[in-house]
Symmetry: C2
Subunit: 360 residues, 2 copies
């Protein structure tokens, strides 16, 4: 079969890591007989430089017509890059938000797990790590504070800024369904995170999650307050299987969770719409300080491509192929600098791509 | 001098830990010649049981007339306690929020530091801990999502819930001033945390913090995004001196920070109004499961009393006296069960109080 992939190389290390992911996809194509056709599109800083804004209507349209979007990281150094002199809605991140909304990417899936081989990089003590942890954060991505009305006004001579956090039951239900579906394929446990002792939106969240849970008798679930969850991630990450939460809490908790693994350069993410469409990108940022040096770790992007095969193209075997190749490379002792440790062989971005391809 | 202290014993372990703090204060009184007069008031679950609501007007009035409030933790087990069958605004936590607002307690100060003696309890690896960390989180406590308008409605047959996040420049300025003031007495570094790439309220926050920073040329400062801060706390806690942030972010980050120390039973907190008035309470919860067993750690509450002496009564020497006594008890090898480790002597709540008093 042929799949059309819209490719956003992005900023900073984006282009070099996406290049490796595309090479890996090509190797999979050769082996499997499937075909991937790429269309390069611009979003973020690169789009500002080319068109004066972080996302054009044409780009959004091309992305929407593709079968899936593969993306590197976007954005630059907020204190030195001229992109951050622009008004907020013309900055790189505004392009990402507009893309999420425009493509209806309401479900952000971020796996966070400990790689046995990279255990030493985990900031937590061995006693806490135990025999490892493996969770998925299911973050709502097109609602809440990110897309509420906002305003900054001068009232009686005083500046007042306002953001609003709105959720309706349909928005909550569809993300809860995704979380319980995924839990079913995993350890069958959902922890839904909210701040129901304070927020109306959290109380509705809880209600709807309870309604959805009724359809999943094989999945256990509990509610946890967001402040407690921020503690539990540090104290006992093993208790988590699927974390289900709203947009802003998900932003904070998924970053905390990925840092806890100690290897953020390895973590992929998927942002899904209704149906099969999705956008796939690494969990880490665009690291402008190391861009173009052939030292960035391409693995998170390569694994994002694997997620694309699995979730958008139903190519489970081919996704396995990539994931196993990555695992093999680690077992064989190869590391990029961010995950380097004693006794391992340090390699660059492209060489890491080669090593993965050799094992496919 | 005589100081009037309103005492809220609270729920769960609250009464037994507050008792120890009061005994310690009495020992300080005896030694220093100052006098503390206590008035017991009810808030939270105990107030629901007595008056049917978590905070009465009379209680708020008594608290407001005192020189400071000393409090244990409030609330119960949310799945079993009948308090949580009540509508949200009649639950224990609603009393706490009403008390904060009613007393104008806009500045929540939560120190989070590593006790050398309790290093082993820290969930982070020794390499990350290094020679320890010591930060203070300055959380805005009477604005933002906690006190915005909220509503839950059915619109076209669909449930919709809304919360709003509002800050005006005065609210931001007064908390920023507190943060820079405290930084001046510490390592002179403020990290202001926001989500300025998304929220209008965060962009105003940043602007006002920059304006305030101009008056503190001796204090360096930077801005950090909340998702990044959640990562940095795990990865490199040593970089933080004073963290300044809004209400909801502060709730999440201060809990994460206290868990990172590994000894939440040791951490105090102060919530200050304009002027000298404040409310002092431990950072931990009411732990209903261990209530009444004489095993809870009273140290966080004892240290909260020390903060009260320092911030509300200007009794720095007396505060030092308490803090040194606590340090000495730890050095001498005494531990409550939550911080127990090999070779130490395990003691109960009251015995821990005795040991601290002996050293005053
Ligand atoms: C760049 C920013 C707007 C974005 C977010 O907060 O969603 C990022 O932090 C992320 O998590 O993908
Ligand atoms: C009980 C709850 C409303 C409260 C808060 O979120 O402020 C608590 O978590 C705290 O941090 O003191």
């Amino acid at each position: 079969m042929n799949f059309n992939v819209a490719v956003i190389k992005g900023d900073g290390i984006g282009p070099e890591i996406v290049d490796q992911a595309v090479r890996v996809l090509d190797a999979v194509a050769e082996k499997s007989g499937h075909q991937f056709t790429y269309e390069q599109i611009l979003m973020g800083g690169a789009s500002i430089d080319a068109y004066g804004k972080p996302l054009t209507d044409e780009t959004l349209e091309i992305a929407g017509k593709s079968d899936a979007v593969l993306m590197g990281s976007i954005g630059g150094d907020t204190s030195t890059s001229p992109w951050y002199q622009l008004p907020a809605k013309l900055r790189p991140e505004a392009g990402l938000l507009a893309l999420r909304k425009g493509l209806g990417l309401f479900a952000n899936i971020r796996p966070a797990y400990l790689y046995e081989e990279l255990k030493k990089a985990c900031p937590l003590r061995d006693e806490i790590i135990g025999d490892g942890f493996d969770m998925v954060i299911m973050r709502e991505l097109t609602g809440g504070l990110y897309f509420g009305e906002r305003s900054t006004e001068v009232v009686d001579g005083i500046r007042v800024a306002k953001d609003s956090l709105t959720y309706n039951e349909n928005e909550i239900r569809r993300i809860a369904v995704k979380a319980f579906d995924i839990a079913r394929k995993r350890k069958k446990h959902v922890i839904s995170v909210d701040k129901a002792n304070v927020l109306d939106s959290s109380r509705l969240w809880r209600q709807v999650v309870e309604e959805v849970a009724k359809d999943y008798e094989d999945v256990t679930y509990e509610h946890m307050l967001v402040d407690n969850c921020a503690m539990q991630l540090v104290n006992n990450p093993k208790q988590f299987d699927v974390i289900l939460t709203e947009n802003m809490f998900g932003d904070i908790l998924s970053d905390e969770a990925s840092m806890i693994t100690g290897s953020i350069g390895m973590l992929s993410s998927a942002s899904l719409a209704e149906g099969k469409f999705g956008l796939y990108e690494p969990s880490h940022g665009s690291a402008p300080d190391i861009a173009g040096k052939d030292i960035a770790n391409p693995i998170a992007t390569v694994l994002s491509a694997a997620m694309m095969l699995r979730y958008s193209f139903d190519l489970d075997e081919e996704a396995d192929l990539i994931e196993k190749a990555v695992k093999k490379v680690l077992e064989d002792g190869y590391r990029t600098v961010d995950i380097m440790s004693d006794g391992m062989v340090q390699v660059g971005t492209k060489a890491m791509g080669d090593l993965i391809i050799e094992r496919i």
